[in-house]
Amino acid sequence: MNQPALNRMPSDAEVVATPAVIEVRDLITHYGTRKILHGINLDIRQGEIMVIMGGSGSGKSTLLNALLGLLRPTSGAVRILSQDLNAISDVERTKLRQKMGVAFQGGALFSSMNVLENIMLPLREHTRLDRSTMQIMARMKMQVVNLAGFERLMPAELSGGMIKRAALARAIVMDPRILFCDEPSAGLDPVVSSAIDDLILSLRDAMGMSIVVVTHELESAFKIADRICVLDKGHILTIGTVDEVRNSKNERIQNLLNRRTEAEILDPDEYLKRLTAAGA
């Protein structure tokens, strides 16, 4: 690794010096006629772990899909490694996607293949390695995520935590520059979830990956994030370090941190007042 190792809280000078691997500019997306993202601007830098947080329905998955090029934005740009995801040709996009790894929320493992075949699939489709080499590489990644010995199991035979780890292994099998994780620790027991957090941290440290994590688990977010981006109703409330977000005076952020959003949504009058107050 020839890029400088980032410590947990990079100094300002370092931050400016690190190039952005993902640049999002004025991103607006719609589902039908409903505007979901209202002009998102976001930079994700080389070697950092960016956590995208926000309440349910705030647009986290939508943003992630736009970053992955699965959802075409109405306007605005997403540049990944300096290439505009929606302007490049199919061939270039295919090449670019080999530098991106994605661990989906539900794992998205192919149910007709066993774990090893799942993890080998990107290698099989994009490299000319022979089968035994591919198997060795896949097994190495399985070791990384602590799944060694489960090669022959089918996805249906895995537990929730194993599915997430297998999905992670598949996401990193091509040694991507950027890793995306959707809710990597949601719905897991605290021990397993903490193990996955450690895994994500070690991936960044050992392989220098830039990592984007979507989560609503506060504890996990505070543990792994270099910076946190807080989404609310399709707007970015704030982007900052863990401490900046934790100490923010913004009421909506504090509500989110204290899990008060749900109560708020249940009370329509209060909710309306907040809305108009925020607009003023």
């Binding site: 899909n65 996009r93 998205a108 192919f110 489709e125 994009h126």
Partner: protein
């Protein structure tokens, strides 16, 4: 009242537009599949032959028992019915004429098409629908693996290969079943039956049936894939679109068959 008519018109208009959109989607999927089959190698992203062969097993070999059973039954049924109606004119001996033509040109392709639509078309829709919901399709895309190349093209190849093969088999079984009953009822010998058949059924009729079955195979695949991609909302959505895919592909097969019959008997 006028409002309600307006509503109704609007709904009809909207479903017509949706129908046309689905038709267009089918054309695009077909064109893309052909593109990947031809160009895939040059882009180092070939359509996997092993996947296509695996699909062929699934589409073809596993369908043989049910198609054999149905074809045998229908062959016998055709013979019974044919002899019964021709007896009115005292022309039972002509039963081979009617059966030979209609089996090879119509019943073989049609029965095979309907059975494959029920078996394979539905499972294709269900498979793709499930893959969509579990984000497996998204996973393919972000891995740089084109889903059309990876899923649709092998399915299309397997159907284009196997539906004609099954149709051929189905026609042979049907004719065998019919011949067996004719032999019993009219005392016609097997040799005489085959003689009559080869006299009546021309090679062009066989090609007509097989050509049509290729078209059915393409239709079933595209309808299955489209309904799979339109799945939304969980397991219930998968069930709904699976059913829809069977209904639509059987309708498409029958309408295409009618158009084919009309054109073919004209020229």
């Amino acid at each position: 009242m006028r409002e309600r008519v307006g509503d109704h018109m609007e709904r009809m208009g909207r479903s017509a537009v949706a129908g046309i959109a689905e038709f267009g989607l089918g054309a695009v999927l077909f064109a893309q599949s052909i593109y990947w089959i031809i160009i895939g190698h040059r882009r180092a992203q070939p359509v996997r032959l092993d996947a296509a062969i695996a699909r062929c097993m699934e589409v073809g070999i596993h369908a043989v028992p049910i198609i054999t059973l149905m074809s045998l039954t229908i062959g016998i049924m055709l013979a019974i019915q044919g002899i019964y109606s021709l007896r009115v004119f005292g022309a039972e001996e002509q039963v081979v004429l009617g059966i030979g033509m209609s089996v090879v040109r119509e019943f073989g392709p049609l029965i095979t098409g309907i059975l494959v639509a029920g078996r394979t078309g539905s499972s294709l829709a269900a498979r793709i629908g499930t893959m969509r919901i579990s984000q497996e399709i998204d996973a393919l895309s972000v891995m740089g693996i084109n889903p059309v190349r990876y899923i649709v093209a092998p399915a299309l190849i397997s159907m284009v290969v196997m539906v004609p093969v099954l149709t051929f088999w189905s026609s042979i079984v049907m004719l065998t079943g019919a011949g067996w009953y004719i032999g019993i009822d009219l005392g016609m010998s097997a040799a005489a039956y085959i003689d009559r058949l080869t006299e009546i059924v021309k090679i062009g009729d066989v090609w007509h049936g097989l050509g049509k079955s290729v078209l059915f195979g393409i239709l079933i695949t595209l309808v299955g894939v489209i309904n799979g991609t339109l799945v939304s909302g969980g397991a219930e959505g998968v069930g709904k679109m699976t059913t829809r895919s069977v209904v639509i592909s059987i309708c498409a097969i029958i309408v295409t068959d009618m158009i084919f019959a009309f054109i073919a008997t004209r020229s």
